[in-house]
């Protein structure tokens, strides 16, 4: 809301010493936040001048400057012999612009003028061989909004609009300041000078005279006939008629200036008055050309397919949800949003019907959005306009039409409907102090509320407060706390640290997720966060089969991009995209991970119910909400490109492999104390022979790791073999035991045995290892340390070398113990896997 300070001061008598900045600060603390102070950036002898003579002079630098003689009226000096033309009283000024001619009216900043746009005080100075006694100004230099002249150069005033020597600060309104205030949705009343003035009076503890009460309300029957067929949509509708308007009368400067400063264009006197009253009182209103209206005004819902051409010359097709004003010709206005072109005020309009109504905010809100037609009127109606103001609003328009446009108020008014008074609210007198924490006395609360227009009754420890008709935000006891606190001062809220009764720290899941984050970083992975929006093309690039479950996405009704219509089902899309970006930017080693959610729709998607807000939903209702949501587990994903161990002076590097991806995810499992086993699997986007699925003890597959399919790697521009992996972290956390395994070890001597077996290539190494581990109670651990295929073993078979550590919990092993354990291990390998000992 743009509030011209001069206009505000005409409604509240602010002390002269209050600066605009102080006013703005105070209003900010009254919930009318200053966005900016506009204008007021020019001071000193800014004067209208007439160009008397121009002498273009070519300069050495190629530029041509104009050496001018300018008449600035009373500001002239007697003689400027050096300047072009006759040496009459004038000033000599050098100007670099060329878009003006002799005889033009221009704006001259004489020495001593301060221009905030340049942050510069103009002086008399020698330039291009002349003494330039001031500056001819452009709109930009004056801090005015850009217009057609801005690009051309200096501002040329319309001929006859001023005389040389006139004070240009007054002429252009440059001395006036305007507050641009941010009005929160609950303070609709402050979208008017009336509302801002009331809060200003409150903020500075000044008396306030409501401008709406200064309007003389016309009475009597016989106003323009009106039928309201939808009293829900239109609770109150008032009209008055003014005739005999002189359409040739211009809008007075003061009114045009106030409108302009408030951000509206001056159009014609009648329209300007209509807008002025909306700004002044906050009552939007509409003037119909009386001559163009045929028959009664009817307020009703539109019929499907009805059309109206609105004032912006757009033909709009209506629905039964639209609330309209119609006459015998059909729809002539979209209620509360915009009037129609057929009854628009024109250059010949002399008689008008002035309408001021109260509309249902929701109807206006929806209509405005349906027609994508935000207007100043709709902005006010959707937030709430004082319903008691319709008649005063219409009367104020009529009053100004009479006063400024020569009109005549016709006898009789139309006033349909009744104003519903807001319901009184009861609350404890100490509530404001208790909730705000500020020492607000009941007396202060009562005084503040009464100045806000409330009727306050105190009954012992209770207030019963009836809010005024213009306040839509005072419905609950706490709403009055805010009003009281606004006056007591938000800056006076003390700082008191509450003392909770003791929390339990991070949840188990939260603590475990942190561990995972540290393990991933410790494994050399750099964490990234990626956007979750993906589309079929991304999933195609992973090589997912048409039937792949991961193609079932949670889709958005309004995605930002058609290419990314839904949420991701795998972190690999984002991670591979990030890996591509890094490789594209020249990184050879890109080892990245992400811990984030994926979104997996339920088998049968149902809508989530909407409940009331008057009571807590039942447990069943809450369960229904959760049941409607997709599964959105945290996943851990990783991509390994380039050397896992860098080439260095002390050894060769080692490229990342499928096994590194498995190793990282095994480490994740390890810190969670979750046992996972690896099993061969064939899943996109992995290399068909180099993918492990990771399986919990109960058989649940928690994810995959291995080598990225070379085709997918190529598709993403990733060089070499790429390690990738992804697991469902939520499943892992659910499988994590509440406490880890207890440490258990024997201090008796160890016996070490190395055994190498030749087995069929298809036999998984892990199967052999676990068979060896289970062969005897004395086996403490088994570790595979070599795999060999080649000349020494038959085709189709390979050698697996294991080192066994044998130890007893209670004694030193004898040679016989060791031999028995070793034999048992060999036997197990031989019988279970047809292994031969090498």
């Amino acid at each position: 809301m743009k509030v011209p300070v001069e206009w505000l001061k005409s409604l509240v008598e602010l002390p002269a010493e209050v600066t605009t900045a102080q006013l703005a600060d105070r209003l900010t603390m009254y919930d009318l936040k200053l966005e900016e102070i506009i204008g007021g950036g020019v001071s000193g002898p800014l004067t209208v001048g007439r160009v008397l003579a121009i002498s273009p002079e070519q300069q050495k630098n190629g530029k041509t400057i104009n050496w001018c003689r300018v008449d600035v009226g009373a500001q002239n000096v007697d003689s400027v012999p050096d300047a072009p033309g006759d040496d009459v009283a004038s000033r000599g000024i050098v100007c670099g612009a060329h878009n003006f001619a002799v005889g033009d009216l221009v704006v001259v900043a004489l020495p001593g003028t301060y221009l905030a746009a340049l942050d510069f005080e103009i002086g008399s100075r020698k330039t291009y061989g002349h003494v330039s006694d001031g500056m001819i100004c452009s709109t930009t230099e004056l801090g005015l909004p850009d217009d057609a002249s801005s690009a051309a150069g200096i501002l040329v005033l319309p001929a006859g609009s001023a005389a040389p020597g006139d004070d240009a600060i007054v002429l252009l309104g440059l001395g006036d300041q305007t507050l641009d205030l941010e009005v929160n949705p609950d303070r609709a009343y402050a979208l008017s000078l009336r509302g801002v003035a009331r809060d200003t009076a409150l903020a500075f503890d000044l008396p306030f005279a409501d401008p709406a009460e200064a309007v003389t309300l016309p009475t009597g029957d016989g106003g323009y006939p009106v039928r309201v067929e939808d009293p829900e949509g239109c609770p109150v509708f008032s009209t008055v008629v003014v005739t005999g308007i002189d359409p040739t009368r211009p809008t007075p400067d003061w009114l045009a200036r106030r409108l302009t400063q408030a951000g509206m264009r001056s159009i014609s006197l009648t329209v300007d008055i209509s807008n002025y009253v909306m700004l002044e009182l906050g009552q939007p209103n509409h003037c119909y050309d009386r001559a163009k209206v045929s028959g009664d005004l009817v307020v009703r819902r539109a019929e499907a397919g009805e059309q109206i051409t609105t004032l912006d010359d757009v033909v709009r097709t209506l629905t039964p949800e639209d609330l309209v004003i119609a006459d015998d010709s059909g729809v002539i206005g979209l209620a509360g949003v915009m009037g129609g072109a057929s009854t628009e005020i024109g250059p010949d309009t002399t008689d008008v019907v002035v309408e001021a109504a109260h509309w249902d905010p929701t109807t206006i809100f929806r209509g405005e959005r349906r027609h994508k037609l935000p207007s100043e009127a709709a902005k006010r109606y959707e937030r709430g306009v004082d319903p008691a103001l319709t008649l005063a609003g219409a009367a104020r328009v009529a009053e100004l039409l009479v006063e400024l446009a020569g009109g005549r108020l016709e006898p009789g008014v139309t006033h349909v409907g009744t104003v519903r008074a807001p319901a009184p609210v009861t609350f404890a007198v100490d509530l404001p102090a208790r909730i705000s924490g500020v020492d607000i006395t009941p007396e202060l609360t009562q005084d503040v509320l009464e100045r806000n227009g409330c009727v306050v009754e105190r009954d012992g420890a209770t207030f019963v407060v009836s809010p005024p008709t213009w306040r839509f935000d005072l419905n609950d006891p706490y709403d009055f706390v805010e009003e009281a606190l606004r006056s007591a001062g938000y800056e006076n809220v003390p700082s008191v640290l509450p003392t909770p009764t003791g929390g339990r720290g991070l949840s188990r899941e939260q603590e475990l997720r942190r561990r995972v984050g540290h393990v991933l970083a410790g494994a050399g992975l750099t964490e990234v966060t990626t956007l979750p929006f993906v589309g079929p093309a991304h999933l195609d690039r992973l090589g997912l089969a048409p039937t792949d479950e991961r193609r079932r996405q949670v889709l958005l009704a309004n995605p930002l991009s058609r290419e990314e219509p839904g949420l991701t089902t795998t972190l690999l899309v984002g991670l591979l995209r990030a890996a591509s970006l890094n490789v594209g930017r020249g990184h050879d080693v890109v080892q990245i991970s992400e811990v984030g959610r994926v979104f997996l729709p339920a088998a049968d998607e149902v809508a989530a119910p909407i409940y009331g807000v008057d009571a807590r939903p039942t447990a069943e209702q809450l369960a229904a909400l959760d049941a409607a949501l997709p599964y959105q587990p945290h996943h851990v994903g990783l991509v390994l490109v380039g050397e896992r161990e860098r080439t260095g002076w002390d050894g060769p590097g080692r490229p990342a492999a499928w096994s590194d991806a498995v190793a990282v995810l095994r480490r994740v499992a390890q810190v969670l104390h979750v046992e996972v086993a690896a099993r061969a699997a064939q899943v996109a986007p992995y290399h068909p022979g180099r993918c492990a699925e990771l399986v919990l003890a109960d058989g649940t597959v928690v994810g995959h790791a291995g080598e990225l399919h070379p085709a997918v790697a190529a598709e993403h521009g990733l060089p070499g073999r790429v390690g990738v992996g992804e697991i469902d972290l939520d499943l892992m956390l659910a499988a994590a035991p509440p406490i880890g395994p207890k440490p258990s070890f024997s201090t008796f001597p160890v016996a070490k045995e190395d055994l190498a077996f030749v087995v069929d290539e298809a036999v998984p190494a892990e199967s052999v290892r676990s068979a060896l581990a289970a062969a005897s109670d004395l086996v403490e651990s088994v570790r595979l340390f070599d795999v060999y295929t080649g000349d020494q073993v038959p085709q189709g078979r390979r050698s697996l070398a294991f080192s066994l550590r044998l130890r007893a919990p209670d004694r030193t092993l004898t040679d016989a113990d060791i031999k028995a354990a070793r034999d048992a291990a060999v036997r197990a390998a031989e019988t279970e896997f047809s292994a031969t000992l090498r």
Binding site: N184, I435, D476, E527, V528, L531
Partner: protein
């Protein structure tokens, strides 16, 4: 010459003569000192303490002495041999130290050689700031609450007192989950009842619905708005919200909590200020500003401060006393309990502290963005 000694057999054995022993001892000690390597010292040991050494030979002569003289001679020899052995030991130690030092010196390496073969990881600052914030509140006795990102419309809006016609509910601000069968942007497009949560407030609702007061929870997390990505906007960002529900809580407790939070993150000189504002879920509502952490609103510095734009304060977030309507919808008795809530963006906390001009850097995944942060802020 003295008179003959009847008790003494005047057999003269030259090697055992004190002067002679002193001489060979001195020779031995000189040789020990003169040895400059362990190898030389080894030869000295053989020459002066070995079987053929003068002292060993002298020792053998003791038997030739009359019994009365043996003790004295034995002591003399023993003392001499001890002296030499001691000198050898000391010299051995010295030479070993010297030779060991020389050997280690020969192993000298270039310590400026790189030690970068291991790939080093790092954690994203958005992750670590969420942990940092959580830790501040956990230390105060709060707990950390979480909830889904695809959220029920009722929890995201209705329960938060954003009624059916609240502007935030339009598709201009909120991502709606498509309703199966309905065309995007067509009628029924919003009938799924599900949204990408626009704030972490539904976690507050969930906390009230599942916990019994007193409740002190902080909710960091990812939230969504339909903003096109540019340098200062992203469709996805991170917030932290806090909620306290207890008997007797007021705006003063909110202020105390935010002051404490601000000091924990920005240092002990930090403070906050309230400005009135409006949010549907709080009443009274306030904007909370941080004292500018660059100029501290010092008169000499504030005017030219680029961080706060000369304001002296930086907008931090929104807050207020929980609207009793929210309490009712979430099953908390507003007659008995009151509470406060607050929320602020975390992405900008990171970008403003680290002078990151473009929010997209947080999301692109360029490893050079994350690496400097290491594993903590």
């Amino acid at each position: 010459m003295s008179a003959p000694n009847s008790d003494y057999d005047p057999v003269e054995v030259t090697p055992l003569h004190p002067d002679e022993i002193a001489r060979v001892t001195s020779e031995a000690l000189q040789a020990v000192t003169a040895a400059t390597t362990l190898a030389e010292l080894k030869q000295v040991r053989i020459d002066h303490t070995g079987d053929r050494s003068p002292l060993a030979l002298a020792n053998r002569e003791i038997g030739a002495l009359p019994p009365q003289a043996r003790k004295e001679a034995g002591q003399r020899i023993g003392q001499a041999r001890g002296e030499v052995a001691q000198a050898l030991a000391t010299r051995t130690e010295e030479l070993e130290a010297v030779e060991s030092a020389a050997r280690l010196l020969a192993e000298t390496v270039d310590v400026t050689l790189p030690t970068d073969r291991e790939v080093v990881g790092a954690r994203h600052p958005i992750t670590t700031i969420q942990e940092l914030v959580a830790d501040v509140f956990v230390a105060m006795g709060w707990e950390v609450a979480e909830g889904p990102e695809v959220e029920a419309e009722w929890l995201n809006f209705d329960a938060m007192n954003l009624g059916p016609d609240h502007p935030a509910r339009t598709m201009q601000d909120t991502f709606w989950v498509a309703s199966s069968g309905a065309a995007a942007d067509g009628p029924g497009a919003q009938d799924s009842g599900k949204v990408l949560r626009t704030h972490t407030s539904p976690v507050q609702a969930r906390s009230m619905l599942t916990r019994t007061p007193p409740i002190y929870v902080v909710c960091p997390g990812r939230v969504y708005r339909t903003d096109e990505a540019d340098a200062t906007h992203m469709p996805v960002f991170h917030q932290v919200e806090g909620l306290a529900i207890d008997e007797g809580l007021s705006m003063a407790h909110l202020k105390g909590t935010l002051d404490h939070f601000a000091r924990a993150i920005y240092g002990d000189t930090m403070t906050t200020r309230f400005r009135p504002s409006y949010f549907p879920f709080t009443e009274p509502s306030a904007e909370v500003d941080l004292l500018c952490y660059v100029c501290h609103n010092e008169p000499s510095a504030v005017a030219s401060c680029r961080t706060c734009g000369g304001e002296g304060w930086i907008e931090w977030g929104g807050c207020g006393v929980v609207n009793p309507r929210v309490l009712v919808a979430c099953g908390v008795d507003p007659e008995r309990y009151s509470g406060f809530a607050f929320g602020m963006g975390l992405d900008r906390t990171v970008t403003s502290r680290y002078d990151i001009a473009d929010l997209r850097d947080l999301w692109d995944g360029d490893v050079r963005f994350t690496e400097p942060f290491g594993v903590g802020l």
